[in-house]
């Protein structure tokens, strides 16, 4: 539903369906029937947010409670925002159309750093002060979860609470506590002090940060009994974990218009640039039977004809052969397409490719990440050119003609040869096509290089690295372009300015809060959309706040430096990351968890048990 005042403007904006709710399987509960109302906010537009699995899980989880309701909120696009501001209509939630500011909990999911200004903008559109300290009453409480809260420091001034790690269990515990404190008329401060005692709850305002003269962090001191280390939450058993069996089915086409079912969390690979891989350790697998049950239930309740099996590295799922042989006949019969994103190029067996061929054929995407073996060893990608070429040869023989390859530039120790290596590898893939005897007749090959730039992230072995400045990255992109000699290879690249801002906030500290607020007040939002990102406003904001953004990106950090996020504990130890950093610079690789346990430290979150070696040890 929407507020009555907006009705006459609905047909004046693009895609009004974004703002009205009423989709299939959306849950509408009466405010009077529940104790706690939770507004789940996605700091981007409807189409992007509706693809997000975390929101679907938490939405169903909260609505499964009789004493609580969860509604969805998205960032209005600029045309709608203009009307809302002009007509003074505060941001509303889609199910009831009620103002967001009347909810008890306002929860944001932070998936990428460039959405930070959108968070401020949404709070402001809701009619709330953006700073935590200026919101004095117990409710609404503004909380956040998602990948970026592993270093919530740049947003510490704005959030009352952040929730590092898996949200399934802690969300319920937090709602229980809030219900109790709301009933007894407690103050916000009393509640926050109590909430900080729940494992996996971080209350930024209870920590005092001191800085050294060189602007690095000197100390982070907990107050009011808050824990010295906030340990991320870890759901131990994915089979018994809450998983939704019905999704809100949008009318509008969302970015990923399909159902998604998780098959495991964590990753056995130790790619040194990959934050998700380290943050989500230890590995926890869902059983194939449970995955299949969930797939069937969701397809039945939603009517979707595509399922995506989701994880960080799908082909590492041990239950994959079992799952596919039991699920594909059913999928085929019901004309359901099964998508396997995140496949590794070195374990993509022919049988798997044949099976996938029976349903609709999508493009093949692989991620060598670096152009030479030396650099792939530095980043611990652990795949070899011969694997890449034999897999694409197999794919060409199977009728595929288009391959997409993901690469990164700006990697530590990178040289000109490594960049040439990207062009050479793409050329080798093209050559492989022409050498292939069973290639599709009369067709040409197309190899698409998708080029990203490294953003060193917290909780990775590269967290100490300097990030290339935008002009250096542009030079490297141009150089790569000059190395490509055939039109069968296309290069898609992006403006490194977004990576630069992402890098500032990824490894930022609390001093950045005022920069984010300044930039937002100047009108910055939707920074992840290239057409919206306003470089001059950001530059001016850094200058006004007296902060050098390159302090956060271009500076190589000392291994012993206190990081702004050191009081967060994601399982993997700093010592392990330091060891990996040193090995990277020596070009030494680390085997996957399946080959050998490297003692990353994450198993202690699971009671000392890691799925990976539990099975080997028996």
């Amino acid at each position: 539903m929407y507020p009555k005042e907006i009705e006459k403007y609905l047909l004046k904006v693009q895609k009004p369906g974004r703002y009205v709710g009423g989709e299939l399987n959306s849950v509408v509960k009466d405010r009077g029937s529940v104790d706690i109302s939770y507004a789940f906010c996605f700091p981007d537009t409807y189409e992007i947010g509706m693809s997000h699995l975390g929101m679907k899980i938490l939405y169903s989880l909260v609505n499964a409670r009789d004493d609580a309701r969860c509604e969805r909120v998205f960032a209005p696009d600029t045309d709608m925002e203009e009307i809302m501001r002009r007509e003074k209509i505060p941001l509303w939630a889609l199910e009831s159309g009620e103002p967001v500011k009347d909810f008890d909990l306002i929860g944001f999911t932070l998936q990428y750093e460039l959405c930070y200004t959108n968070v401020l903008n949404m709070l402001d559109l809701a009619g709330l002060p953006v700073r935590s300290a200026d919101r004095e009453s117990l409710t609404p409480l503004v909380i956040a979860g998602g990948t970026c809260v592993c270093n919530a420091e740049p947003m510490a001034d704005f959030f009352d609470i952040t929730l590092p790690g898996d949200g399934e269990e802690v969300t319920n515990e937090l709602i229980d506590l809030l219900k109790e404190y709301k009933a007894k008329g407690a103050t916000k401060r009393e509640f926050l002090i109590a909430a900080a005692q729940i494992p996996g709850v971080y209350v930024p305002s209870l920590y005092e940060v001191e800085y050294n003269e060189d602007c690095t962090v000197k100390s982070v001191t907990p107050t009011c009994g808050a824990p010295g280390k906030v340990i991320k939450r870890n759901v131990a058993d994915l089979d018994t974990m809450f998983a939704p069996e019905s999704f809100v089915v949008p009318y509008l086409e969302s970015v990923f218009d399909r159902t998604t079912v998780e098959i495991f969390r964590g990753c056995i690979r130790g790619c040194r640039f990959c934050q998700a891989g380290f943050l989500s350790r230890p590995l926890r697998e869902k059983s194939p039977a449970e995955v299949e049950r969930q797939c069937r239930a969701i397809c039945e309740s939603s009517g979707y004809d595509e399922i995506s099996l989701c994880s960080l590295s799908t082909s590492d799922y041990r239950g994959l052969p079992e799952l596919l042989s039991s699920m594909l006949p059913w999928a085929d019969e019901n004309k359901i397409n099964v998508a396997l994103p995140s496949l590794r190029i070195d374990n993509f067996p022919k049988e798997l490719m044949d099976k996938l061929n029976t349903v609709r054929r999508s493009g093949l995407t692989f991620a060598p990440e670096a152009g030479t073996q030396r650099l792939r060893d530095v980043i611990n990608k652990n795949i070899y050119e011969k694997d890449i070429l034999s897999t694409v040869a197999q794919a060409f023989a199977g009728g595929w003609t288009a391959v997409k390859l993901y690469f990164m530039i700006g990697l530590p120790t990178e040289t000109k040869e490594d960049i040439e290596g990207i062009a050479n590898l793409a050329q080798a893939v093209v050559d492989e096509f022409y050498h292939c005897e069973n290639k599709p007749k009369g067709k040409s090959v197309s190899v698409n290089i998708s080029l990203a730039s490294l953003v060193p992230k917290p909780f990775t072995p590269f967290q100490w690295e300097a990030q290339d400045k935008p002009d250096v990255l542009i030079e490297k992109q141009d150089y790569l372009l000059s190395c490509i000699k055939t039109r069968k290879v296309q290069l898609s690249r992006h403006v490194p300015w977004t990576s630069f801002l992402e890098g500032v906030f990824a490894r930022g500290d609390r001093r950045l809060g005022k920069v984010i607020e300044t930039a937002w007040r100047k009108g910055c939002h939707f920074d992840s959309w290239e057409e919206h990102l306003d470089r001059e406003k950001w530059t001016a904001s850094f200058e006004e706040c007296g902060i050098d953004p390159f302090f956060y990106t271009a500076r190589e950090r000392d291994l012993e430096e206190i990081m702004p996020w050191d009081h967060m504990d994601y399982g993997v130890t700093k010592k392990f990351l330091q060891k990996e950093y040193l090995k990277a610079h020596k070009g030494e690789t680390t085997p996957s968890c399946r080959e050998k346990c490297s003692n990353c430290g994450a198993a202690r979150l699971n009671g000392g048990v890691c799925n990976e070696f539990r099975k080997d040890m028996v």
Partner: protein, 220 residues
């Protein structure tokens, strides 16, 4: 393979769903209802589902036709029952029939247009003004067509036209050219009439009531 015409009512929040999105919505509903839809036999098979007269964004419809093809014989009322049990609020199957007329036989449709103004005097003024414009037989507007943007006289596309008002509300009851040959979007007529007088309504609701073939016979 069986051709079936399903008739649906579209109202409430769903009117903000565009035609393309409606197509996806119904395809999924048919899957949820476990109705064996016939799939096209191409490289990329897709279910056969044809909206005969797509409703423009923001308009409601009383009885809108969709043609589907199904693989098995299922009683018509069973199809309606199954679909109604899975459709979201705002969409309802009101009839399921075997097609009688062809889509190109459609000539006109009847629309009820309700316009709400801030005051009764604005409503009164607009009602008499609109009647006079239609009476005059000339209301030129730019209309998008396959041949690009052209200026056309909307009165040539307008059949019966009556207008009434009560308090601050105006109701227009009109028949407009509809179909694959000649078609006038009711929103264009309303916007042009409002534009003539610079009127700023609080709310406009447009509902398609009935669809006709030649000589105002109900399209079946």
């Amino acid at each position: 393979m069986n051709s079936v015409r399903i008739w649906y009512k579209k109202s409430g929040l769903v009117i903000y769903t565009s035609h393309l999105d409606m197509n996806r919505c119904f395809t999924r509903a048919v899957r949820r209802a476990d109705i064996p839809l016939w799939y096209t036999e191409g490289f990329n098979p897709h279910p056969y589902l044809n909206f005969l007269l797509p409703l423009p964004l923001g308009q409601s419809g009383e009885k809108e036709p969709i043609d589907i093809k199904i693989e098995e014989d299922i009683p018509l009322d069973e199809i309606g029952r199954r679909l109604n049990s899975v459709l979201p609020d705002g969409l309802e199957i009101v009839a399921v029939t075997s097609p009688v007329n062809k889509v190109n036989e459609i000539t006109e449709a009847r629309y009820i247009i309700d316009i709400e103004f801030a005051s009764g005097s604005e409503a009164e003024g607009f009602a008499s003004g609109a009647a006079a414009v239609i009476e005059s037989g000339v209301l030129n507007a730019e209309k998008r067509s396959k041949r690009g943007i052209q200026t056309v006289n909307l009165c040539e596309f307008t059949g019966d036209f009556s207008v009434s008002y009560a308090e601050n509300r105006v109701r227009i009851d009109t028949c407009l050219a509809t179909g694959t040959q000649r078609n006038l979007n009711a929103s264009l007529l309303v916007d042009s009439l409002l534009g003539e007088f610079g009127a700023q309504p609080e709310k406009v609701s447009i509902a398609r009531k009935e669809i006709y073939t030649a000589n105002k016979k109900i399209f079946e």
